[in-house]
Symmetry: C4
Subunit: 321 residues, 4 copies
């Protein structure tokens, strides 16, 4: 964190992008933007109710224009200030801005406003425009630190979840084939073809069970019961995979946090800045305060007591910690 | 645990607040209160059945008056005796009582009786009063030690569960938008607006699947099947998060219990009091008897074998093992 | 395992109670009994279908008489031979038999035949007698080694599961109260009282969702959606608790198996009998063959390489293994 | 990997069986086969829709003939080249081919084409033939590396899952018996016999809840609510078992990968080939890149710091860390 001159642009950067620790202005701007995004999505939902839109249509339209204006300004300011990102210091301003524009968060911001401007140019169905506004919900991603952990678990477990989905699709195709054979004659309407039979299979395997299509002959009921039982496995597999994934991430986060603590302690007396950095690391890694303080406590204890033999002063082996 | 003079108030405190180990009177009072609370909730439920209330109305009313009397006395006695809490010894009686009154358990006790007295002052709908009596169920919280563990898991996993809920709400809004587009024309009644479409989405994503609203066109069935499959993930995520959370708490409880055992062992010969304290710690930490005895056994073994420096033969400190 | 004289009774004991390793006769007797129990339950189920009973009634009755005869003989033989149980060697025959009779497995065997004999003495409804025969399914418990693990997990997690059930019952009572308030006027039939409202709540919280009772007003739909979402938590909690419980049991089993392996290795050269005992321990502890061989391999490696410094021959510390 | 002469047959082997790292031709052939298999299954599904088959029947038939030709050639080529498998080098060509033919993957390939040839010989129902084509989906198993992990978890947890299924079947039989007693008189159609009652039980215990059969009397509703709650357990058990199983496999994979890394490091400077082998091991073991790099990093650190005897300073063996 180099000491950069506090130009207006860099102040904007610090306010919008939430340097740690965030100042009061940064918090207020964040809160207002979160509020505006939420209000936007709620408005887009409520507008589809005809009676509400008939009564408050003009207000909704004014609120939409106001929101578009704010989001457009926000987008432009973010593109303007992104060159103050310490990680982009070594890029030319143009390159830094182009790179920022194609970053995921910036694309989300763009998609939140682009449909409206496209709608002005071309003749787009109003209903589609309204639904595109629901995508503004993605703008909240920026403010949610817990998503990191979920993303890491999803990424690490992707091959296993893919294999579970492959098994699910095999089961779904075979179960549809089976129920098609069993019920085709009894209910030619609901089970007249494999795609139609798949509707029953998917609602059964996911244990949704609407009941709009139900097997009626004894044998297909027996087969349907079997598929329901297999459906339990289809839920248990992803739950088990994700459970192992989360447990692994917790272990990994604890290890990374321990390394950070070790590093901080090896640099001499602990300063306020280091505490703030550790706190930021803790939030990023998704560790609870209890876990973090346990780790700090145990590292302090280890450093004090365990590195040297208290009797002869010789270094002690550490085991596999 | 200082040796306080056994005044009547401190006796009441010991009986009501369940000092470990609880005496016979304490157990009996606890059992009677649990019975009364349970009977109260069952009565409040049964009273809403008209035929039952018509037949036994006066008995219900008498039971209610009796319960209110008991709960009011219980509340006043608890406020009176709370100054005997060893943790409040250093506060003035008034301050101790005011602090107790705003503690969660005391507020639950207050909410269990307050609506009735408010009902006497103002003209409150009888049905609301009856339903407020259901809140008396919370009075049982006091007697349930396993809740600690659930609370700790919930608190530690709150950010991750929050992120999962954020994803859930994104999925829900987008799925509602999708089904609204697909089914709006086919079923203008059930999918006439986004809020109405959300009813289908929530029953599908949670795999409840009442079947009162079901997609009927082929494309929306395909979309509905996709949403059902995503619904599996919406169940698997919290299950996985909580599984990792419980596993982490178990590990943490074992570590804390190990430290307690270490401490107890380092204080010389183990006394009956220490055993009682360890047993209390075990219950609080939510460890099973098997786990606890495993830990004690391994600590004893470690003390015997592992405690000497390989260099000079002197006893070693333990660190965070 | 003392070398007892092979009397007829002790031979019967070995055949029926499955001494490890079981002989051929023991396996055949086990298989025949499992077959008979399964056939009995299937017969009890099929008899309730009127058309089947009308056609094959006498055959069913003959099969029942035959089964009762076999199960009665089995029960008497088990009571007769139980004195050969090595663990009962120090009891008098009478005491050993009385103790055996009140053991859970013996009581299950008794309940499998007792209703029939009671039915001969008193005039019992035939339908009840038939359903009591379903309890014979419990006789299979004896042959299922994996149940140990499930039982241990259930026992260790009982307090936590109890707390989850307590929260579930609070949620259920409050949700019933809420939907009762919201829907009572719109659907006085389905939500006329709290017990009736509970039917909707339980089918929603467990995500069964029959759809026979569904909220219809907008506010109660919103409330119902909220309850559905909470229902996900009600499924995720037990799944998470059990996942942590199973993980803990696996860790514990591995530790116990490691101790057994250590013990076996410390007794000098490994004999065939020791291998058989380890194999039995493995099955009892519910470890997979991979896990067991991993443990054996690592213990052998540790014994050979790690106990002494290869350079100076001094004993090495072990860390926290 | 001996350096074998690049005959045409061995080239085919390398292309079809995907030697690591796969060449460009191998990747293209794999992609084309995956595409063809997927198109086949989709075609088999769409053909059952009468309107589609009426319109495009001949095209479907031509595509089927083309697919059969390709799959037959693929099968014959695989049988021809299998003798180039390094693991079959020591078998005579005939024996190698016979062994290959009865291997699971070859049998899947055979079942994908055999029904058609049988259909030419005998007069088989066209509908059955069509459904047999769905089994071609299994041909994709060959290309899915994540399935290994799922298979290992299933195999290791089989006894525990078997025990859970045993409990499930006991609960199902007893619940069917109970609801049969409660509802038999009120709904003689839906609950007229135990097998019919089982349909309700299975849809309730699996939380599918179609709602085609629902208890109507108060007592059977109370009983049904209880069964729904038990149904939560029936989902939570397999989820918990699989979660522990996946966690165990992750731990085991990390250990095996650590051993591989150790081995690689002990053989002197790391070569590109070793990196490729480690990468292959990582994919096979189902480890994420993060986990793998963590392990490599910690092993490197350990090698540097931890490898010397605290007594004499000599390098130490590693044991099972």
């Amino acid at each position: 964190m180099m000491d950069m001159p506090q130009t207006f642009r860099s102040r904007c950067y610090r306010i919008l992008e939430g340097i740690h620790p965030p100042g009061v202005t940064g918090r207020v701007v964040d809160a207002l933007l979160i509020l505006l995004i939420s209000a936007n999505v709620i408005a887009a939902i409520l507008e589809t109710v005809e009676s509400i839109y008939a009564a408050y249509g003009p207000s909704f339209d004014r609120f939409e224009i106001f929101s578009i204006a704010v989001f457009s300004i926000e987008y432009l300011v973010r593109v303007w200030v992104c060159v103050d990102d310490p990680e982009r210091q070594d890029q030319t301003p143009l390159k830094a801005r182009l790179r920022y524009i194609v970053s995921p968060l910036a694309l989300i911001d763009l998609f939140a406003i682009a449909p409206v401007f496209l709608g002005l140019l071309f003749n787009v169905d109003l209903r589609w425009l309204r639904l595109f506004r629901l995508l503004r919900l993605f703008k909240l991603t920026r403010y949610w630190s817990g998503l990191n952990l979920l993303y890491r678990v999803m990424r690490d477990e992707a091959p296993t979840i893919g294999a579970a989905l492959f098994i699910l699709s095999i089961v779904m195709v075979l179960a549809s084939g089976g129920i098609y054979l069993f019920e085709n004659k009894a209910q030619p309407d609901a089970f007249g073809s494999l795609p139609e039979a798949m509707w029953w299979t998917v609602t059964t395997l996911t244990t949704v069970g609407y009941g709009d299509v139900v097997p009626v002959t004894p044998w297909s009921k027996a087969f349907g019961g079997l598929i329901s039982l297999i459906g339990i496995g289809m839920i248990a597999f992803p739950a088990g995979i994700l459970a192992a994934g989360f447990a692994e991430q917790v272990r990994r986060s604890q290890k990374l946090y321990r390394e950070r603590v070790d590093e901080a302690m090896s640099e001499g007396p602990v300063t306020g800045e280091m505490v703030a950095e550790l706190e930021e690391a803790r939030t990023e890694l998704g560790l609870s305060e209890d876990m973090a303080s346990d780790i700090v406590r145990s590292e302090v204890a280890r450093k004090d007591e365990d590195a040297y033999c208290p009797h002869c002063g010789g270094p002690l082996p550490r085991g596999d910690r």
